[in-house]
C-alpha cells in the first residue's frame, strides 16, 4: 500500500542554505518582518525530519518556501536537487496543510480524485490509489459522504490521504495530529511510522514534542528565524545530561562506621559540603536509602560508584536523568531569545 520506491537514504532531499525571508511592510504599515534569518538545514532520504519552534519562529515560512508558495529573499533551497517551486520538485512532494480546507461540494473520494488530477495522475491510477488510501486512513466506509459532515479528525485523515495520492517521495506534514483525539493521533502516528519504514522522507512540523521525539530521526529547532539546534534527538541531548543522579542503595550501620549517613554519602559521592544532596530512607529500618545528588559528568558518576562499592554499599539502582527534548527545546529557545 505504501510503496517502497523511496529515494536513496544518503541523498539530501531537502537542502536549505542561508535562507532569508523578509516580509516587506504595506503602504500603511511600513514595518518589515524578518521571518527567516539565514536558515540552513538538510534532510536526507528516509528521514523523518522534525521542525520545531515556538509560534512566529518562521516554521510556516520555511515550509511555504519549500513548497514554492513563498519566494525567499536570499539564500537557496532545493528539493531533490531541484530548485524549490519548480514543477519537477513539486511533483515529488505531498503536503498536508495545518487546517485542510476542502470545498463543501466534495466527498472524500471526489476530493481525492480532484487532488489526484491536480497532481497529474491518470483516472485509473486515481481510482486504484483512492481505494488504497481511504482504507489506509480509515475513511473507506465514508468515502461517499459529503465532507460537510466530516469531523476535524476525518479532515486530517483525508488530508493525509490526499498528500499521499501521487505517491510522493517527500511528505511535508504541517501539524498532522492537530485536533485529533488520542486514538486518532495514534493512528496517524502509525501511518507516519509505516511511511518512514517504507523509506519515505517526511518533513514534519509539530508542536507536540513528545510526538516528534517518538517519530523523528532528526529535528531542527527554529527560533526567531534562525536554527538554534539541529541533529538527532540523541545528538541534541548528548553531553548535556541534566546532572542529577538518583541512586537506591543498601548500607548498614557498620558501613557508616559510626558516622552520620549523610556525611558519609557526601564523602563517597565526592560532594563538597555545600553541594546539593538529598538522602531519604527507603525503609523503616535505615538500610535502604535513596540518594539524589548533582553529578554533572560521567566521570564523577563512575568515581562515586567506585567509592560506594569500596565502602561496601550495594547499589540497587542508578539513574542518571538525561534532558528531555522539551528541556533541550526550552533551553535552546530561551538562549536564542536571550541572545536576540
Amino acid at each position: 500500500m505504501i510503496s517502497s520506491d523511496a529515494v536513496e537514504s544518503a541523498e539530501a532531499i531537502v537542502d536549505v542554505r542561508g535562507l532569508k525571508k523578509r516580509y516587506s511592510g504595506s503602504l500603511f504599515n511600513r514595518r518589515s518582518v524578518d521571518a527567516l534569518r539565514g536558515v540552513s538545514l538538510t534532510a536526507s532520504g528516509g528521514e523523518v525530519f522534525g521542525l520545531l519552534g515556538p509560534n512566529g519562529a518562521g516554521k510556516t515560512t520555511l515550509i511555504k518556501i519549500l513548497l514554492g508558495v513563498v519566494k525567499p529573499s536570499s539564500g537557496s533551497a532545493s528539493l531533490f536537487g531541484e530548485a524549490v517551486g519548480s514543477a519537477a520538485a513539486r511533483r515529488r512532494v505531498g503536503y498536508l496543510p495545518e487546517s485542510l480546507r476542502v470545498d463543501r461540494h466534495h466527498t472524500a473520494r471526489s476530493a481525492l480524485r480532484y487532488y489526484g488530477r491536480l497532481s497529474g495522475m491518470a483516472p485509473k491510477e486515481i481510482a486504484k490509489r483512492s481505494d488504497e488510501l481511504l482504507d489506509l486512513v480509515g475513511l473507506a466506509g465514508r468515502d461517499r459522504e459529503s465532507v460537510k459532515r466530516f469531523s476535524k479528525g476525518m479532515y486530517q485523515r483525508l488530508g493525509l490521504a490526499q498528500a499521499l495520492m501521487h505517491n510522493p517521495d517527500l511528505l511535508v506534514l504541517d501539524e498532522p495530529t492537530d485536533g485529533l483525539d488520542p486514538v486518532g493521533r495514534n493512528e496517524v502516528r502509525k501511518v507516519i511510522e509505516r511511511l518512514r519504514d517504507a523509506g519515505k522522507t517526511i518533513f514534519l512540523n509539530s508542536h507536540i514534542l513528545q510526538e516528534v521525539e517518538v517519530i523523528c530521526t532528526r529535528v531542527a529547532i527554529l527560533s526567531k528565524g534562525e536554527i538554534c539546534g539541529s541533529g538527532s534527538i540523541e545528538e541534541l541531548s548528548s553531553g548535556s545530561v541534566s546532572g542529577r543522579v538518583t541512586l537506591d542503595v543498601i548500607a548498614d550501620e557498620k558501613t557508616f562506621n559510626g558516622g552520620a549517613a549523610s556525611t558519609k554519602f557526601r564523602e563517597w559521592l565526592g560532594l563538597s559540603d555545600s553541594a546539593d544532596l538529598e538522602v531519604a530512607a527507603n525503609d523503616g529500618i535505615g538500610r535502604s536509602h535513596r540518594l539524589n545528588a548533582m553529578l554533572d559528568s560521567q566521570t564523577k558518576i563512575d568515581a562515586a560508584v567506585d567509592r560506594l562499592r569500596q565502602a561496601g554499599v550495594s547499589i540497587v539502582r542508578l539513574e542518571a536523568q538525561r534532558e528531555t527534548l522539551e528541556d533541550t527545546f526550552m533551553k535552546l529557545v530561551s538562549a536564542s531569545e536571550a541572545a536576540n
Partner: protein, 777 residues
C-alpha cells in the same frame, strides 16, 4: 492540461451544488413554462389598423371629395364614403364643407373594418379606373362562390386600398396573430410573418437577453461567484493548491473560467429553452440565438474579472461584490454619458444629405440643420441650426447653380411627416450671404426634393409635383407673408383645399403622376439630371415616367412598369448610371435592369443578408454604382463582361459612412463619414481628390478627447446589447420608421463595445495573474 481541466470541472461541480443556481434554474424553467403556451396563427391581412395609414389626412380629403362627387359619376371613393357609419359620414360632410374636423385614424380603421364583411359598396364600374395590383386582379377573377370568408375579406381590403392610392402603407398579404393557450391576444398585434420574425429576432430576443442575461443573471452570478477567489485564498486551500505542480497563472485562469460556469449553466438553459419555444411555438427557428450563450458569458466575465481582482486583493467576497457593483455603476454612468454624447453632440451633427454648388459644400444634418463648409475657417457654418431638441426637419439641399441652393424646413417635421404650418421652398443665395428667401409653397408633407434639368420635383407621402426652377427663383423673395397666404388659401375653391389636404398641387407645384397612381412606401426615386425621365420604385413596383414635351409640369406618362419578385414591403433603393438601373432591396440580391425597358440584365448579384442597402448612387454614366450599406461601408458595383454580368469589385476604405452623393458636373462621389468629414472621390479611379476635416467645436472636442477614450477605457457593457441584436438578427443595422414617416437605418455599434470589453477583460486578467503569480501567500 489535465490539472487545469480538473480545476474548471471542479468549479462546475461547485456551481451545480450552489443553492442560488438551483433557484435560478427553477426561475428559468418557470419562465419557459409561462412562455410555452404562446403560439400564432396565420391568415390573410384583412383588418385595418391605425398604423396601416401612411396619410390619413389624404384619406379624409378623398372621402370628403367622394361625398361631393355627383351621383351620376362612378366613383369608388364616393361608394366607400357613403358606406361609412352615419356619424363619420356627417364629419366627412363637414370636411367637404371646408371645416377643420379632426378624425382619429382609429375611427377610420374601425369604419373600414366594418365594411369588410359587407361589400355592397363595391361597383365594378367605379373600380375600373383604380390601380389594381396583381393580387387584387387575381382575386377579382375568381367567382364569389368559391371564396371563403377570409379570402373575401382580403379582397375587400385590397379593393378599399385600390380606391385610396397613397393612403396606406404596403403590408404583406399574410399576417400572423399571436395566441396564448390557443386564445387570441386581447390586443390587436396582427403583423406579417416577416415582421413577426424581425420583431422576435430584433426586439424580443435582445430585450430578454439584455434584461435577463445582461442584468439579472450577471448580478446573481456575481453574488454566487464572488467567494470563489477568496475561498481559494484560504490558507488550508491555497497552500495545498500551490504545492501541486501547476502554474499559478493557469490555476487562476482555470478558476476564472470555472467561475463562469454558473452563468454558462443558466444561460445555456435559458437560451436553448427560448430557442425551442420560439421554434416549436412560433416557427422562428433562429440558430443565431445560440450566440447569446458565449456573448452573455463574455459579458459576465467582464464583471467577474473585476470581482476576481478585488477578491485577490482583499480576500473578501463582500468587498469583491461591493467593488464589482461600483464598477457596474461606473459603466452605467459612462454609458449614460455616452448616450447623452451621442444624442446631443454627435448625432445632431451627423451628415444625412450633401449638395455641391460650385465650390460650396452643403450638408443637411440629423439635427434638422443645414450647414455650409467654410474653407477659410475650415469649419462648418450653420445656416439652419442642428440640435438634438430641434423639432424641424430639413430637406436635402438641391443646387440651382454655383451660388444658389434650394431647400425647405418642415416646421415640427421631425415628429410628424406633415409638419406644422405652411411649407415653402427656400432659396439660399450666396449674394445674400446664404440667407434663406422663401419661394413657392411646396405640397403638404413634402419629404424630398429632386432636381432635373429645369425642373424641381417634390415628393410627399404619395404624390410627385413639379415646378420650374425659373418660377422658383422668381418667386424667391416675392412670396406673401404666411397670413396673406392663409387668407389667399381661404379664398381658394373647396376642391383646391381638399386637393391640398391630399398633398396635391399648390399654386406653384403641379402634380406629375398619372391619375390614380401613388408613390407609396417603401419607395425611392431617380430623376434624370436633364429632367427627361423619372424612374421610381414603390411597393416593389418599378415605373418609368416621362414628361409631355409641351409642358413638363403637367401630368407625366407612365412608359414602362415592372413588378419585382419578392416581398413588396421591403425597403428599396435605386440608382441609374447611363442606361443601367440598380435596384437594391433588403434581404434580396441586387438587380441590374435596363433603365429604358426595365428589363433585367444578367443574373442578380447576391448581397449578404446582414447588409441593408442605405443609399445607392451612380458613378458616372458607365453603369457603375456606389452602394452604401448598413455597416457604414461603401461598395462599388461594376460591370464585368460586356456590361451583362455585374460584381462588387471593392469596398472603399472609409468607414462609418453616413451619406453618399454623386456630383455629375465634377464626376465626383462625395462621401460623408465620421459625423461630418467629407471625402471627394474621383468617380473613375476612386482616388480621394479632396478631403474635408473640419475643426471641431468645444463639445465635439470634449467628445473626441474625453468621452470617446472614456468609452473605450470603461467597458461599455450596456452597449453589448447591440452586438447581441446584430448576432441574433444577422443584420448590421435595424430599419425603423422615424416619427417623420421615413424609414431610418440605425447601425448597430458592434465593434466598440466588444473592443472596450475585450481590452478591459484582458487588462484585468493580466493584473490579476501578475498579482497572483508574484505575491507571497
Amino acid at each position: 492540461m489535465r490539472q487545469y481541466a480538473a480545476v474548471i470541472r471542479d468549479s462546475f461541480h461547485a456551481a451545480l451544488t450552489s443553492r442560488v443556481l438551483w433557484i435560478a434554474f427553477v426561475a428559468i424553467w418557470l419562465l419557459l413554462a409561462a412562455l410555452s403556451p404562446i403560439g400564432y396563427r396565420e391568415d390573410f391581412t384583412t383588418r385595418f389598423r391605425s398604423s396601416d395609414f401612411s396619410n390619413g389626412t389624404r384619406m379624409k380629403a378623398m372621402l370628403a371629395q367622394g361625398l361631393a362627387t355627383p351621383d351620376q359619376e362612378a366613383s369608388a371613393t364616393r361608394n366607400l364614403a357613403n358606406a361609412m357609419p352615419e356619424d363619420l359620414r356627417r364629419q366627412l360632410e363637414r370636411v367637404a364643407e371646408g371645416e377643420e374636423v379632426r378624425i382619429q385614424l382609429r375611427e377610420l380603421a374601425s369604419a373600414l373594418n366594418g365594411m369588410l364583411d359587407d361589400e355592397s359598396w363595391y361597383d365594378t364600374e367605379a373600380w375600373k379606373p383604380t390601380l389594381r395590383f396583381k393580387e387584387l386582379r387575381e382575386l377579382d377573377e375568381l367567382p364569389d362562390e368559391g371564396l371563403d370568408e377570409s379570402t373575401r375579406r382580403r379582397r375587400a381590403r385590397l379593393r378599399i386600398e385600390a380606391a385610396f392610392p397613397g393612403v396606406f402603407e404596403t403590408r404583406s398579404s399574410r399576417s400572423v396573430l399571436l395566441t396564448y393557450a390557443s386564445m387570441d391576444f386581447p390586443a390587436d398585434l396582427a403583423i406579417d410573418k416577416t415582421q413577426f420574425s424581425s420583431l422576435i429576432n430584433q426586439y424580443v430576443f435582445p430585450l430578454i437577453i439584455d434584461w435577463l442575461l445582461g442584468f439579472i443573471l450577471i448580478f446573481l452570478g456575481i453574488l454566487v461567484t464572488a467567494s470563489i477567489i477568496p475561498d481559494m485564498l484560504q490558507p488550508g486551500s491555497l497552500h495545498l493548491l500551490l504545492s501541486k505542480p501547476i502554474s499559478r497563472t493557469l490555476l487562476l485562469l482555470s478558476k476564472f473560467l470555472g467561475g463562469c460556469a454558473f452563468v454558462l449553466l443558466c444561460v445555456t438553459q435559458l437560451v436553448i429553452g427560448l430557442y425551442l419555444v420560439a421554434g416549436l411555438r412560433l416557427d422562428v427557428w433562429n440558430l443565431r440565438l445560440l450566440w447569446c450563450i458565449p456573448v452573455s458569458v463574455f459579458l459576465f466575465s467582464v464583471f467577474f474579472s473585476v470581482s476576481t481582482l478585488a477578491g485577490l486583493r482583499w480576500r473578501s467576497p463582500i468587498l469583491a461584490i461591493g467593488v464589482t457593483t461600483i464598477f457596474g455603476t461606473i459603466c452605467f454612468v459612462t454609458g449614460i454619458l455616452g448616450g447623452l454624447s451621442d444624442g446631443f453632440i454627435r448625432t445632431p451633427d451627423q451628415v444625412r444629405g450633401l449638395a455641391l454648388a460650385g465650390e460650396n459644400v452643403f450638408a443637411a444634418t440629423d439635427g434638422g440643420g443645414l450647414k455650409r463648409f467654410d474653407v477659410e475657417q475650415n469649419a462648418w457654418q450653420e445656416i439652419f441650426k442642428s440640435s438634438a431638441v430641434n423639432s424641424d426637419r430639413i430637406l436635402n439641399p438641391i443646387p440651382f447653380g454655383d451660388d444658389l441652393v434650394g431647400t425647405a424646413v418642415v416646421r415640427g417635421g421631425r415628429f410628424n411627416p406633415f409638419g406644422a404650418g405652411p411649407l415653402d421652398l427656400l432659396v439660399l443665395n450666396e449674394a445674400y450671404d446664404w440667407e434663406a428667401e422663401p419661394s413657392l409653397r411646396l405640397p403638404t408633407a413634402t419629404s424630398r426634393l429632386f432636381l432635373g434639368g429645369d425642373l424641381v420635383v417634390s415628393m410627399n407621402t404619395s404624390e410627385l409635383a413639379a415646378a420650374s426652377v425659373q418660377d422658383l427663383l422668381q418667386a424667391a423673395g416675392e412670396t406673401e407673408s404666411d397670413d396673406e397666404a392663409e387668407a389667399e388659401q381661404a379664398d381658394e375653391g373647396l376642391l383646391s383645399k381638399l386637393s391640398n389636404m391630399m398633398g396635391g398641387a399648390t399654386p406653384g407645384f403641379s402634380p406629375v403622376l398619372p391619375p390614380q397612381m401613388a408613390i407609396s412606401k417603401p419607395r425611392d426615386l431617380v430623376f434624370d439630371p436633364q429632367g427627361e425621365w423619372i424612374i421610381a420604385i414603390s411597393s416593389g413596383r418599378l415605373m418609368r415616367l416621362e414628361p409631355s414635351t409641351e409642358n413638363p409640369t403637367q401630368r407625366w406618362t407612365l412608359r414602362v412598369e415592372r413588378s419585382l419578385e419578392g416581398e413588396a414591403s421591403k425597403q428599396a433603393k435605386i440608382a441609374v448610371s447611363g442606361n443601367r438601373l440598380l435596384v437594391a432591396r433588403s434581404e434580396a440580391p441586387l438587380i441590374i435592369l435596363d433603365a429604358i425597358t426595365l428589363e433585367p440584365i444578367g443574373e442578380p448579384l447576391p448581397l449578404s443578408d446582414s447588409l441593408i442597402p442605405d443609399t445607392v448612387q451612380p458613378l458616372g454614366t458607365g453603369g457603375r454604382f456606389a452602394l452604401l450599406t448598413s455597416d457604414g461601408r461603401c461598395r462599388i458595383i461594376e460591370p464585368k463582361d460586356e456590361a451583362v454580368t455585374y460584381e462588387i469589385t471593392q469596398t472603399l476604405r472609409q468607414k462609418e459612412i453616413e451619406a453618399l452623393h454623386f456630383h455629375v458636373a465634377t464626376n465626383q462621389l462625395l462621401l460623408a463619414h465620421h459625423i461630418d468629414q467629407i471625402d471627394f472621390l474621383d468617380a473613375n479611379d476612386l482616388s480621394v481628390k479632396r478631403a474635408i476635416r473640419p475643426s471641431l467645436a468645444q463639445w465635439r472636442l470634449i467628445d473626441r478627447y474625453v468621452l470617446a477614450p472614456l468609452r473605450i477605457i470603461v467597458p461599455q457593457t450596456g452597449e453589448l446589447g447591440e452586438p447581441i441584436s446584430a448576432l441574433i438578427s444577422g443584420k448590421s443595422a435595424i430599419v425603423m420608421n422615424a416619427p417623420n414617416g421615413e424609414e431610418q437605418v440605425i447601425r448597430y455599434d458592434i465593434a466598440r463595445p466588444i473592443l472596450s470589453c475585450t481590452i478591459f477583460l484582458l487588462v484585468m486578467l493580466t493584473m490579476s495573474c501578475t498579482y497572483f503569480a508574484t505575491r507571497d501567500f
